[in-house]
Subunit: 306 residues, 2 copies
């Protein structure tokens, strides 16, 4: 094994910029007049995803597909999920499946099989570690043996992260520090397996919602590649994201900010008012939003380093 | 709204006993000679599930379906998952879908839609709270409005629960105490909505792996109905389960202990050695195991109360 998906992702982000386009494509993120052109909403979602993927070019380093929105459309939704993964593969765009699974023993093994092989096979997944570190092992084994990648939830971008993740322990640390330590340990183990100076196949999810916190987590985990949610619609600023992009780097997710750009895109005002939007209109609008986000993130990076 | 699924589950357990049959039906839990009779492994799994469900009668209070094993079989697996839920509905057996989803904001709403409506609609789900309590709200809203139920992970049955769930906080409590407090609060809120003295639609997952811990959690959450994993194959004893069945009560899951009973069932030795097992053999063996487990749990309950 010479390489792994996290390394491929990192190289893609170095080449195409740190933006991760979040294909959290809920039907409500499409205009009704576009949805009505398709047999069912999941077909419309697939068409929107296809338009973005086929034209993404160098606007983003990767895509993230949030499985919840596809599950919510039932079996048809999961067919669209599968087709979306296939398109990303075809266009050689690294794919993060945001599944946040987490379970024990044989069940965790089943989830690893489910998302690292078969119909739902993807490059990189997200994992919830809060049931304990034994829940991570079946996934790290696939990273080691099949070159897959995983992002482990460390500091999420919701306000509720204060409830548990950020709880102060009797040792003086906060809970998520324990996750950070464990990820550093796993990461070192993995780097030894892959005999590489590059990032390990195991990264961390760190929301870009608090500057001080971002800096301390970046310093605590200098060798982990980060998946950075919370930018854009969720209020995270490019400046904070740029801090998290230092050292081993990362990729900054924007979902609704891109998928729903047509709702506020000046160029589309007339068509929007007439309910006359076409698929290509919203695809082009999403691509413009991606270009803008990419530029903003690169500028923030430059500002931080100068 | 007069009732909710947790109340229906509780009544079923009062009538048919505390056992929850875990339909974590991995193809490796079936003999190869049975699997070979079907077009694909997921068809064989469905046949096994059907056999158990159609003949379950008063041997168990409910069934739990672990979605990971169905996801691992891809789209065909999820079709089997859907058919299994339909069978449970047909036979009026309360169904817990063990999905352990947990995410934020719109994504959590999508997961709630995914599993409380549409193709994957179920009665009760399991939820992972460790990203924060805001992640629970979209699910509790469905409980309040549609009478659905949910079990929130509190103390899981894996050894890794020590890593985070059981961490000592600066306040002197352990992390999972915070989850218990929040569940008590939500539960009171829910009981007010349903205007009932019965259990709330929000229960907790508490593994039966430690006696002292079981007693303190049962006392800390006297009004929560518990889903109790860890009994049987995972080493949890009926005596500890019985402690967790006190006060508001609960249901005790056994999966492999029932599904894989044919592997050690004396009655089947000859057929097993000849690789001549039939579907009905393993179904009847599973049902015998369910009867035995039910009896053991009821005895442990009786012993504890006398």
């Amino acid at each position: 094994m010479k390489t792994h998906q996290m390394q491929i992702l990192r190289e893609s982000c170095a080449k195409n910029g740190p933006l991760c386009v979040g294909l959290d494509t809920d039907p409500s993120y499409l205009p009704p007049e576009v949805i009505s052109l398709y047999e069912n909403p999941s077909e419309a979602v697939l068409a929107y995803n296809r338009g973005i993927i086929e034209n993404l070019g160098d606007k983003a380093g990767c895509c993230k597909v949030q499985i919840a929105y596809y599950e919510a459309m039932g079996l048809n939704g999961l067919k669209t999920y599968i087709e979306t993964l296939k398109l990303l593969k075809k266009y050689k765009i690294p794919c993060i499946s945001d599944i946040k699974r987490g379970d024990i023993a044989d069940t965790a093994k089943a989830y690893a099989r489910a998302h690292f092989s078969g119909d739902f096979e993807t490059d990189i997944i997200t994992v919830n570690p809060y049931m304990g570190f034994d829940t991570l092992k079946p996934f790290t084994e696939w990273c080691a043996s099949a070159g897959k990648g995983m992002f482990v939830l460390l500091r999420t971008s919701n306000s509720g992260m204060q409830d548990l993740e950020n709880q102060k322990l009797s040792s003086g640390a906060v809970l998520l520090d324990l996750v950070a330590n464990e990820l550093n340990r796993i990461s070192d183990e993995m780097k030894a397996i892959f005999n590489t100076e590059y990032c390990s196949p195991v990264g961390a999810v760190v929301g870009c919602t608090e500057e001080e916190n971002a800096r301390s987590l970046r310093n605590a985990c200098p060798n982990l590649f980060f998946l950075i949610p919370g930018y854009g619609t969720q209020g995270g600023q490019a400046r904070i994201a740029a801090i998290l992009l230092e050292k081993a780097g990362g990729t900054v997710n924007s979902s609704r900010g891109i998928l729903c750009n047509w709702k506020k895109d000046d160029i589309l005002e007339d068509k929007r008012n007439k309910n006359a939007l076409l698929l290509d209109d919203i695809v082009q609008s999403a691509l413009r939003a991606a270009s803008t986000a990419k530029k903003e993130l690169l500028c923030a990076k430059t500002e931080l380093s100068t």
